[in-house]
Symmetry: C2
């Protein structure tokens, strides 16, 4: 669930937040008014309501230098890699995973996904962080896209594996992840 991205970002930035639950099914007009595709999460910040986890993450990143540098090059590179995580990587991982779940005989998105992962592996073998030589919201999002076990188990990509491990070992990720699991357990 993509609420993890926003919990995690708030933890990294030290922003106070609270999490509310919406029903998994029977999402009615009230929900659709806030999230027109019937999904979660959406973020409330004062008078602002924002759906799309990527948009919520960019909103939080602008509030905290811990998530995104303030210089124009550092900010542009962070933005660039946030969009790459959403529109170059997740645009392939999610539909690929969707086809895996339907149990189709052959997953025709496999070659495309492998190619994207290979390009990213070349980058991650060379550098520790995607932007600005330090942890940013771009790493948070990219690691969240890549950490799906089915994606991680595709082929041998040591740069990517060590990147995902390094980032998901952060205290903020562990806390957000544990909190998310506890939240689901309590909602059952």
């Amino acid at each position: 669930m993509r609420d993890l991205r926003l919990r995690w970002a708030c933890e990294e930035a030290g922003l106070a937040y609270s999490v509310r639950t919406v029903p998994f099914s029977d999402r009615g007009q009230d929900h659709l008014a806030r999230q027109p595709f019937g999904q979660v999460p959406f973020l409330c910040d004062g008078e602002l309501e924002i759906f799309e986890s990527g948009a919520g993450l960019l909103h939080l990143a602008r509030k905290s230098e811990k998530l995104m540098p303030r210089d124009s090059v550092g900010e542009a590179k962070t933005l660039q890699w946030i969009i790459a995580a959403l529109n170059s990587m997740e645009m392939v991982t999610v539909p690929w995973w969707f086809l895996e779940m339907t149990g189709a005989k052959e997953n025709h998105l496999g070659g495309w996904l492998e190619s994207r992962l290979d390009h990213l592996e070349d980058i991650l073998q060379e550098r520790e962080w995607l932007a600005a030589d330090r942890f940013t919201a771009a790493d948070l999002l990219m690691a969240d896209v890549l950490r799906i076990p089915k994606v991680r188990s595709l082929g041998d990509r040591p740069g990517t594996e060590s990147y995902v491990t390094r980032i998901t070992e952060r205290t903020s990720f562990k806390k957000a992840h544990a909190d998310q699991l506890a939240h689901f357990a309590a909602a059952d």
Copy 2:
């Protein structure tokens, strides 16, 4: 080709720009250093180099109020719908189209795409623009995602059809589109 988004945004904003060509095949290390997935476009603005058309569009939107309002709510809503175009709509249209092109017997992403289009149709039957009650970069991007003939021909969605027609009738779109076609023709 996604360079259209950036040409079109520059036309809307009245920003001066020039377009350079990169080879379609044989994209070597120079290209990968600028665009790690081997794609186009990338944007150069002074010392900044940005890949990902969505990131380039957000960069341009921050330069011009014509593309994105300056008040915090208007800006957040524009951002939200830009990300929705990239990560809720295009994340389904592009892989769906990819499977159509492979000629698979059954396109297992069809139901997902129809559902996303239906949710968006509900919105587009109610309003003329996605954010801030006026044309923004979010409409530019969403119309660019939806204008693909194969997607437009899926089912009868009059709100969506009239939205795409209205937006692609803009002078800036027509100029950017004609320039793009002329550019490809000259490069042949």
